[in-house]
Amino acid sequence: MGYATFGEVLEFAIGRENAAVDFYRELSGIAAFAAQKSTLAEFIAMERGHAAMLEAMKARGTVKLSASTAVDLGAARRVEATDRPPAGMTFQDILTAAASKEARSFELYGRLAREAGDPGIRETFERLAGEESRHRAYFQDLYEREVARDN
């Protein structure tokens, strides 16, 4: 998978944010009660915000994101197993799924950065990876505070 231009890279990233919106919307469709839906609605709004931010960067032609990665708190390590929480999903299920999604995006952008030949494209992917690591840290921090309080 090669990305020749800055615009293509941003388009790809925007596509991933929109996919995240679809993911949470799909989960919201199977949610069994209002509290789940409101949590998912919050995450949908967050992902929409990310997509809008990337759209703005694409229009400007520059990525104003720090490439430094956020700390991995190590919570919610169960990355592969949480793609589709059940209908009776708890806050733990939702947060684990969210943290896993962000972790996968972080890993993907990191890999694409390493594979990129063009220094400009590499830097863009690195900055996107940094941003995803911060999103992951946000969910991990929430997980530590709200779910694993006694762990």
Partner: protein, 591 residues
């Protein structure tokens, strides 16, 4: 008469034209003795602003005043003593009594200024040349006007206690309670730290004076669970206690228990207020835990008809189903609940709101609704294999123990987590004859459980395995489960934040257990709130204002479901606060 005597008065006139001769100090270089009682010094960081110095000063020379840069926080009033040297007699009683030992006196005794106002200052805050003086008066080593050691609480020994579910703490006798109450300096710093703002100095004074009726009345002003809180309260008050700044904090919790234990339920009515005349208004409370019943009590006192909807077969919530009886015996809890019931509060058991009745129905049938459903659902271990049948939920284990059910834990048990639920589950398992390992991801010092609970669990025989990150659970093939964890080291990843456990590569440990009890945290059960109810929920918590009111004006929420503290006393305080707010919307004064 000598001629000089005649001339002398004229001769002095020449002095009138000379420059007057004065010295900057009347005495130069005559320092005070090494233990001279000179101007005060105070280590403002060690001082907790308790005001004991102010209380003991017989000349009223000390006032506690606010100072810039210090605000009240747990265990610190934010005030500091200001000394008025127009009144001070340098007796140093203030130094001798100071619980934290922050106050001293320098050996400086000279201070000349034409402005009398400056001789009143806040030592340690207003800079003075003698700040940090090595010499001067200090309280002698070992000399204490206050008794800094707590009256020991009679308890069962660990060896004895672990054999049964008998209550460990026996309670103070009258003589012991009065002696312990005598240690209180009535500074009141504790009041601010208590979520319910109980009148702690007031009820301790009542113990001291043997006036238990007044003591009970003061307890019930802000807390209708004195028997329960007298045993299991997280006692933020004791952490804040000024005496604790230099010795053992006053045993506030045990003194509360003493009052409640001494007064028979039948005599409660003699001390406690009667309910106001019926208002004709009806309030539904969802959840018969401490928060829900606290709201019910204060609402009933205000004359409202209260019905509590509870899914379990007995009232008390986590006080009954989450705290083992060796810490909180059921008769003690029942005494608190029975008094609340005696005010006409109806508790409907087996009522699962959301199923029967629906929240919408409650909103229709009642003038207001208070939601206090707590955190009943245990979170999973969140590792592969955590659905293994030998992985048990800590909250469910404790509830089964309360119901007297056979737990079937087997011989070897791992309890995963470091909170109070983990400690209670571990100690319950020990009492069922199990060998218990408590497996925790961080260090003992990081454990959120009450340190006393951790000490007790270890003393009763639990083995604490620190820095162990759960990896997975595997079937052992013999009816048990293998628990696999990675040993960790604590790494300071971000400055200012707490260290994070990082797995040590290759340091993987596998142990076989008959049961693995997950106690990493609990979450709410909110399926009873539908979208049509219109109650705004954010991150699985109803959004409330400071009175507990949700986005629906007649629906209130509180307790563990909403607050961050997640302990009984905070839930009780929430219930009281919401009761006053509900009373206001129902036309009352809210007091």
């Amino acid at each position: 008469m000598d001629i000089k005597d005649i001339i002398a008065p004229f001769a002095v006139w020449k002095r009138a034209f000379e420059k007057p001769f004065t010295v900057r100090k009347p005495i130069d270089e005559r320092p005070g003795a090494p233990r001279y009682r000179g101007f005060h010094i105070n280590d403002a960081d060690t001082c907790v602003g308790c005001g004991t110095c102010e209380s003991i000063c017989m000349n009223k020379a000390i006032d506690l005043v606010p100072v810039e840069g210090r605000s009240p926080s747990g265990g610190d009033s934010g005030l500091r003593p200001r000394v008025d040297y127009g009144r001070c007699c340098w007796c140093a009683l203030c130094v001798d009594i100071c619980p934290s030992g922050s106050l001293g006196m320098s050996n400086e005794y000279l201070w000349i200024d034409s402005d009398p106002e400056v001789f009143r200052y806040v030592p340690g805050v207003d800079p003075k040349p003698w700040d940090g003086a090595e010499l001067g008066y200090r309280r002698a080593e070992g000399y204490r006007l206050l008794d800094m050691e707590r009256v020991p609480m009679p308890e069962l020994s660990h060896a004895e206690g672990v054999k049964s579910f008998l209550e460990l703490v026996k309670g103070y006798s009258r003589e012991q309670a009065e002696r312990e109450a005598d240690r209180c300096v009535a500074c009141g710093v504790c009041v601010a730290s208590c979520p319910a703002h109980m009148d702690i100095p007031g009820y301790i004074n009542a113990v001291r004076g043997g006036d238990l009726e007044t003591g009970l009345r003061l307890l019930y002003e802000t807390n209708p669970f004195p028997e329960a809180c007298g045993r299991i309260c997280t006692r933020a008050c004791e952490s804040a206690c000024a005496i604790g700044s230099g010795g053992d904090p006053v045993a506030i919790r045990w003194l509360k228990r003493y009052i409640a234990d001494q007064v028979e339920l039948a005599d409660y009515g003699k001390s406690l207020p009667r309910a106001e005349s019926a208002t004709g208004r009806k309030v539904a409370v969802v959840g018969a835990g401490p928060g829900g019943l606290s709201a019910a009590y204060y609402l009933a006192l205000l004359g409202h008809k209260v019905t509590v909807f509870e899914k379990d077969e007995a009232p008390g919530g986590m006080l009954r189903y989450g705290i083992p009886e060796y810490r909180l015996p059921y008769p003690a809890l029942d005494k608190d609940v029975d008094y609340i019931r005696s005010l006409g509060v109806e508790i409907r058991h087996g009522a699962t709101v959301g199923k029967d009745p629906a929240l919408a129905k409650l909103r229709e049938d009642f003038d207001a609704v208070y939601l206090s459903t707590g955190l009943p659902s245990a979170y999973r271990l969140d590792v592969p294999g955590d659905e293994h049948p030998r992985v048990l939920d800590g909250v469910a284990v404790l509830a089964a123990a309360t119901r007297g059910e056979e737990l079937g834990l087997g011989r070897r048990v791992a309890v995963v987590g470091g909170g109070n639920v983990a400690m209670d589950a571990a100690r319950t398992a020990l009492r069922r004859g199990c060998e218990v390992d408590i497996v925790y991801r961080r260090r003992q010092v990081d454990m959120p459980a009450d340190p006393e609970e951790i000490r007790e669990a270890k003393a009763e025989g639990a083995r604490l395995i620190e820095r162990a990150i759960p990896l997975r659970v595997e079937d052992s093939g013999d009816g048990g489960a293998r628990f696999v964890w990675n040993e960790a080291e604590m790494v300071q990843k971000e400055p200012g934040k707490r260290p994070v456990p990082e797995p040590i590569p290759g340091a993987v440990v596998t142990e076989r257990y008959d049961s693995i009890i997950a106690a990493i945290g609990q979450g709410p059960e909110l399926s009873y709130i539908t979208e049509a109810d219109g109650v705004e929920v954010r991150r699985m918590k109803p959004v409330t204002d400071r009175t507990g009111r949700t986005s629906v004006p007649t629906v209130f929420a509180g307790g563990d479901l909403v607050n961050e503290k997640k302990d009984a006393i905070s839930a009780i305080a929430d219930g009281h606060r919401a009761a006053r707010a509900i009373d206001r919307i129902l036309g009352g004064r809210g007091d």
